[in-house]
Amino acid sequence: MIQLDSLDHFEVIFNEESLSYEFTTDDTIKYIITFIDYAQVIEVQFPFYAFGIERYPENERSISNNKVRNTVIYILSKFFSNNQNALVAIYDSLDGKQKSRKRLFDRWYHLFNDGSVSKEEGCFNSCEEETYAIVIYSNRNNNIDIIKEKFNYLINQDFFNS
């Protein structure tokens, strides 16, 4: 198990104006991380966010893949330092690469999870594409049952069945 403290990562800054976390790689690729508050939408009384990660320019990739990975893991470790936070993410499927993204994240999850968090996964059809979603929570979260129930409620629907 790799120790999160020892991870070599890029400096992360919080942009107060845009309410997003950002880091820039040595080859000037910018990553923008967002947490959108959905607690009210999902009707829960605890922090529940959707996680997003965007890259600019979109089609360029940094040569420092591991350091990018480490930085994302670092951000998530900070997020779960509040063990009442819950996070949902939908793997982007616009380019048809959602399975690759899921596999990549699964690898990261198994590599870095020290047992302090758990996840639930699901998939649904959106615009005739199989789309994957994940919810992650600390094992010390007081609302695990509700988190699982809400996630399953969202995912286990006959999406776009018309």
């Binding site: 845009s18 959108i36 508050d37 997020f79």
Partner: protein, 64 residues
Amino acid sequence: MYFIILTVYLPYKIRIMKTDTSKNKPKAIVQQMLDDKKVIREYIKKHGSLKGFGSDTIRLSRPF
């Protein structure tokens, strides 16, 4: 909870549908998540960052 919705099609057909809003709610939530994601992506693609981004419905937050 049910709503009765009247829809009018040319040439003036009237259709009455019953909508179960409780079933549509999770779909609407997931669709909102997908739409919000797309809006943010498109903004970043155009502007290079989220600087100047504003939305009444997308609640960007600072959880740590």
